[in-house]
Amino acid sequence: MAIAVLSCLHANLAAVEAVLADIDQLGLDTIICLGDLVGYGPQPNEVVELVRERGIPSCQGCWDEDIIEGLDACDCSYPSQLAERRGQLAHHWTASQLKAENRDFLAGLPFSLRRGRLLFVHGSPNSQHEYLLPDMNAFTALERVDSAEADTLLCGHTHRPYVRRLNHGSIRVRVQKPAGAATSSSNLASSEHQLDLPLRRLINAGSVGEPRHGSTKATYITVDEDHDAVEIREVSYDVERTCQAILNAGLPPIFSWRLRHGFEYAERADDAAHVCER
């Protein structure tokens, strides 16, 4: 059975509609959303309401969390003062626009969703704000998947879609006993344990509403559980419609310019291992 996984909608209604139409055309009934329904984009209510109407199970993203928890629930992920100012402006605007029932919907979203051995999160099993980038350290990637007791971890947040297979993983641990427990006065007794791990996968769904993969097209993924197949799909949408909506909403024109050119609204933090320490 195949499912569609989308993430990082960012209040971009034209992009969400185009992706849902593509999913419908594929005949997929099961859709899972990895969060960030709002933030930066001009149609937060419309996008939340569309997800609610379609009954799409969703995780809570970092923007969804920030809107509920207050400004800068995590303020450590902005790479520059400029990005932070723009992020704050977008946050205040979104918070001022969001209807109470839509805010409540975002507040009620779970941190993660599970489907058998598939785990769905926004950022990582540790935090909605952690970036799991495609080139991150293999051990860290393996740890994130395995500690979540999953075979496949599906995430978003980076806005760059990818599939990473973690083959032949093993964790080796040396346990060194305290001196009192040693059998010899000169040597500490130690034992070594090795845990061989089966194949793990880390799959990123990219972004529907704010692509960051070098194109303006919306991205999402399909996962065929029966055939162990993953497809990254790119969908064209009416970018100009969203750009005009940005201007009509009174959001900064630079948001429109960046979206039109396939640049994210604000840059992400460069530290792949970044973990919010709130």
């Binding site: 520059s80 003062q81 400029l82 900064p252 310019w257 960046r258």
Partner: protein
């Protein structure tokens, strides 16, 4: 024996870069004078707020300012290389010295700086041939930034947006910018050439508050959104508190005293 050159050409053709290269190759004293040009050519487009002169002075600390009358009188010092730079859109009517705009002669005579050679970009083969632009139809804006210090990552984003047309149809951008650690850079970009130049200034300021060197952004283009440029710059510049937050650890590393409030 001194050598006095008059270098003319339109904005962005590489006059200052050519002059710097020759100053750096010259073994004796060097002198520089930037002439304003003539208003009938629309030369407000060439106005750089002193950026070129400040950059040359930074790169050649012993450079003589030939606008100074006392220095000018000494311009016949042995082995002096004097470069007089003038923005000029139109091609000279004649080659060599005969092509000097007649209106310049009294100014040069008063400064005792009659050139032995006149080179014009686009005419003389001694100069590099570069694609130059018709600047006379462009808007020109000059934004003072004296004392301003940029958040480095924000500066990178702003410059990227600026030269890629986020704030209007940009043709030329040039700036002296200050970073919190005391470094200064010349940022230079023109639409007809690939990429930006990011040239570090030689003079370092100590990380004690705001720098005193000249700082300015000059842009030329069409339908430039000046308010948006200014607003973005404001979002990129460090407050006193943010600046101190960055400079304090630097002073500790360098074992410099903390300034009194």
């Amino acid at each position: 024996m001194s050598q006095i050159l008059l270098i003319s050409g339109p904005p962005g053709c590489g006059k200052t870069a050519w002059i710097l290269k020759h100053f750096q190759a010259h073994l004796g004293p060097c002198g520089y004078l930037r002439l304003p040009g003539f208003a009938d050519e629309g030369l407000q487009h060439a106005e750089d707020g002193g950026l070129d002169q400040a950059f040359l002075c930074d790169q050649c600390p012993e450079l003589m300012d030939l606008a100074d009358q006392d220095v000018s009188l000494a311009s016949h010092a042995t082995n002096l290389l004097a470069c007089l730079e003038i923005p000029q859109f139109h091609h000279p009517a004649e080659s060599g010295l005969a092509g000097i705009d007649r209106r310049l002669i009294p100014q040069l005579a008063a400064l005792q700086l009659m050139p032995q050679c006149h080179l014009h970009f686009g005419r003389d083969n001694e100069l590099p041939q570069q694609d130059t632009l018709e600047f006379s139809a462009l808007e020109h804006h000059s934004l003072p930034l004296n004392g301003a210090v940029w958040d480095p990552d924000s500066l990178s984003s702003f410059w990227f947006e600026l030269v890629n047309g986020a704030y209007g149809d940009i043709f030329r951008a040039k700036a002296h910018v200050n970073l919190p650690d005391g470094r200064g850079f010349l940022f230079n970009w023109i639409v007809s050439q690939e990429g930006s130049q990011f040239l570090p200034l030689l003079e370092l300021e100590s990380p004690h508050g705001r720098p005193t060197r000249l700082s300015r952004l000059v842009v030329q283009g069409k339908q430039l959104q000046l308010n948006q440029i200014q607003n973005t710059i404001n979002d990129c510049l460090l407050s006193d508190a943010a600046l101190e937050l960055q400079q304090g650890p630097l002073r500790q590393q360098q074992q410099l005293p903390t300034p009194s409030p």
